[in-house]
């Protein structure tokens, strides 16, 4: 009798095989092309970042004759992740991909990531401490967990402002929550025909909520392992959003969800329809290059303390790939971590340089003096709250917290009742 999982695996495999003939069939042997080992690399960017990544991949492929990295675009982070999980289940995973930090503990527990401790030089790579697996996760370091993720495009949320509008209103960059309300009030303008220029905008999403929970003095997981979702601080963060949107009416929640909302904020900012916003450091270059006004970046404001989460993604090798391909993928990952590649990636996009030599060289070359906005995220690393090494973290993000945030802000639901409901859901087994 056919087991249920085998049947589903067969169905998933058949679907994938139909969708991508040959390329996605399960591979027992490594793929070669012109004598080179082929590394299939699934990535998840668009626009400028995609171009920079493809340039680097081409540079790597030209620089040697042993490995051929084949980069395959798979949509945004969450689309890429969905495809990756399906491909893993169907035995058709790529050799290399990159995934958001919050999913790493879950994938590690599922046993689908290649442990990297024994790969040449893996433990000696000179990463910026807050950005590698040890620093990015509380309890994710050596001894506690095997090394499974290598920092790639890492970021923190930062604040952006239209410097011209700040100057017009003689306002300075807000450093606290109260200052943010005050400055946003001054920057919000309503015209006679009902058109509004909003003082402030931020996507109502998990990443920014986590930052505000930390700023309000809370943490997602208590030291005893209880998923408190920030307790009172989690509710305070929601109430602050409600105040900005519903009471003060100085913030517009951007339409759309996930990265559509982020893109909407970026566009509104560039069009001068919002004066300040929170976004990722990943957009520094894009915003600077496309704005018709000077863009100034600064750290997120503090409430009782300063706090930011890290974001972006980490490289992961798939355990199911043939050994030869994994070794070849590691060669590419190490190459990407060299100072010059890290510098190229960082300066052309806005993502943080992930290794110390890259940061030192950038400082020596005067990059930060010429591009002070690039320095903001790096300096903010002093205030990073690491993610908990919790396999349920991604489910909590997507299924428990994220859907409730918009509900609270747009419909004005009571923050305490809502977070009680969320904590109840978080305790429920997946």
């Amino acid at each position: 009798m056919i087991a249920r999982r085998d049947l589903l695996r067969a169905c998933a495999g058949a679907s994938l095989a139909l969708a991508a003939p040959l390329g996605c069939a399960p591979r027992a042997r490594p793929e070669h092309e012109d004598g080179r080992v082929v590394v299939t690399f699934w990535y998840a960017y668009g626009d400028l970042v995609r171009k920079v990544l493809l340039d680097l991949v081409a540079q790597f492929n030209d620089s040697q004759s042993r490995v051929l990295v084949r980069a395959v675009h798979q949509g945004d982070y969450f689309e890429c992740l969905a495809k990756l999980r399906t491909a893993i289940a169907a035995g058709a995973a790529p050799t290399l991909s990159h995934v958001v930090c919050e999913i790493v503990p879950y994938l590690a527990r599922a046993g689908v990531l290649e442990p990297l401790d024994d790969y040449e030089g893996a433990r000696a790579l000179p990463f910026v401490p807050a950005l590698d697996q040890r620093g990015a996760f509380a309890g994710g370091g050596a001894g506690a967990q095997p090394l499974v993720a290598i920092p790639f495009n890492r970021s923190t949320p930062i604040a952006f402002a239209n410097a011209r509008l700040l100057e017009q209103e003689r306002a300075s960059f807000p450093r606290t929550w109260e200052e943010l309300v005050e400055v946003a009030r001054r920057l919000t303008k309503r015209s006679a025909d009902g058109e509004v220029r909003w003082g402030f905008e931020v996507p109502i999403s998990w990443w920014y909520w986590v930052a505000m929970v930390g700023q309000a003095g809370g943490r997602l997981v208590e030291p005893d392992g209880r998923m408190s979702l920030g307790g009172e601080a989690g509710e305070k963060a929601i109430r602050f959003w409600q105040r900005l949107v519903r009471d003060e009416r100085v913030m517009r929640p951007p339409p759309g969800r996930d990265y559509q909302a982020w893109q909407s904020s970026n566009e509104s900012f560039l069009q001068g329809r919002i004066a300040m916003m929170w976004s990722s450091t990943a957009y520094v270059r894009y915003l600077e290059d496309n704005a018709r006004f000077p863009v100034v970046a600064g750290p997120l404001p503090r409430d009782v303390r300063a706090s930011v989460p890290t974001g972006g993604t980490m490289f992961v090798l798939m355990r199911s790939a043939p050994d030869e391909e994994k070794r070849a993928a590691w060669e590419f990952v190490r190459w990407m971590c060299d100072a010059e590649q890290t510098i190229a990636w960082s300066t052309r996009t806005g993502y943080m340089p992930v290794t110390r030599p890259a940061v030192e060289r950038l400082a020596e070359r005067g990059w930060y003096a010429r591009h002070p906005n690039d320095r903001v995220a790096y300096d903010q690393l002093a205030d990073v709250d690491p993610w908990p090494w919790a396999p349920e973290l991604f489910r909590i993000e997507r299924d428990v917290v994220e859907p409730r945030l918009e509900d609270a802000v747009l419909t004005g639901r009571d923050a305490h009742a809502l977070m009680d409901e969320a904590r109840d859901d978080a305790r429920r087994p997946a």
Binding site: L8, I88, A110, D193, G194, G256, R398, P403, E406, P429
Partner: protein, 290 residues
């Protein structure tokens, strides 16, 4: 015609039955079975009984998804049928102009949902969109219809009506062509005016066509996904999270095969019940009018 042997009818039905079993009945069966497990594709499945249904029903989420989907479908079906019938009656005339207008209205049905969704996103944009500007000119202020939980679902339904009206119009036109002119002439000779002819002759004869349009529009509206995915991703505040999108979100974004399967089963039962009820009502009306 009588079959020569007892298995002949089954042999004739076999290809269709096989397709139905493989692509409809078996997947629903697998989904029903899967809904009893907690499984994320990567870690071992765990039997949880009805816990997935209970989790979805907790805090009224399942009910809200069902009501939202029914609300969306009601607007789409009623809007599509009303506009489709109205346009069919208006445009059922000879001449190139009418043919051009009929083709123009139908063209929306041919365009892909993705293109339609992108077009309407631009039109509904609160800042620069045509509808946004119109609302501002009417004194409604800056209204972002897709960003407001009260208006996002009706806005999506309007897009659905716009897309499907052409299809309903064409089916109604075909129905109108099958109404015997002799009946209309006889009614006119008996002194029936245009309204009376429409109400007492045309409409009863269009009942089977209307039942067909209603059922297919209902099924199409229940399957709404592209328009949600492109325009709102289920937001704001889950206001546009319809059944199919909720299933997609559960399995692909939230890693829960069990909950997605439970939603699929509830969705199947709901669709079956609504389609059955609708057909029953239309059939009873059709029989009553004979």
């Amino acid at each position: 015609m009588r079959p020569r042997t007892g298995w002949h009818p089954w042999a004739m039905l076999a290809p269709t039955l096989a397709l139905l079993v493989v692509f409809f009945i078996l997947p629903i069966g697998v989904a029903a079975y899967e809904s009893l497990f907690s499984w994320d594709l990567l870690t071992p499945a765990r039997f949880v009984g009805a816990a997935n249904y209970a989790a979805l029903a907790a805090h009224g989420e399942l009910l809200r998804i069902a009501l939202r989907t029914l609300g969306y479908s009601t607007i789409v079906v009623v809007g599509t049928m009303t506009l489709g019938l109205g346009l069919a009656l208006l445009l059922d005339r000879p001449g190139r102009l009418f043919a051009f207008v009929r083709a123009s209205v139908f063209s929306a049905y041919v365009v892909s949902w993705v293109a339609v969704a992108l077009l309407w996103m631009w039109m509904l944009d609160g800042n620069g969109g045509v509808v946004g500007r119109l609302l501002r000119a009417l004194g409604a202020g800056q209204v972002a219809l897709l960003g407001d939980p009260r208006w996002a679902l009706p806005a999506l339904a309007v897009v659905g009506v716009w897309k499907l009206t052409g299809y309903a119009m064409i089916i109604f036109l075909a129905g109108l062509r099958s109404v015997p002119p002799s009946l209309l002439e006889a009614a006119a000779l008996d002194g029936a005016g245009a309204w009376a002819r429409l109400r007492h002759v045309t409409m009863p004869l269009l009942a089977p066509t209307a039942a067909f349009v209603a059922t297919t529009s209902l099924v199409t509206s229940f399957q709404a996904f592209d328009v949600v995915r492109i325009m709102t991703q289920g937001g704001p505040a889950r206001a546009t999270e319809l059944f199919v999108y909720a299933i997609y979100e559960q399995i692909f974004l939230d890693l829960s095969v069990g909950k997605a399967s439970a939603l699929t089963v509830v969705f199947f039962v709901l669709l079956l019940a609504v389609a059955g009820l609708q057909l029953r009502v239309w059939r009873s009306r059709a029989e009553g009018s004979r």
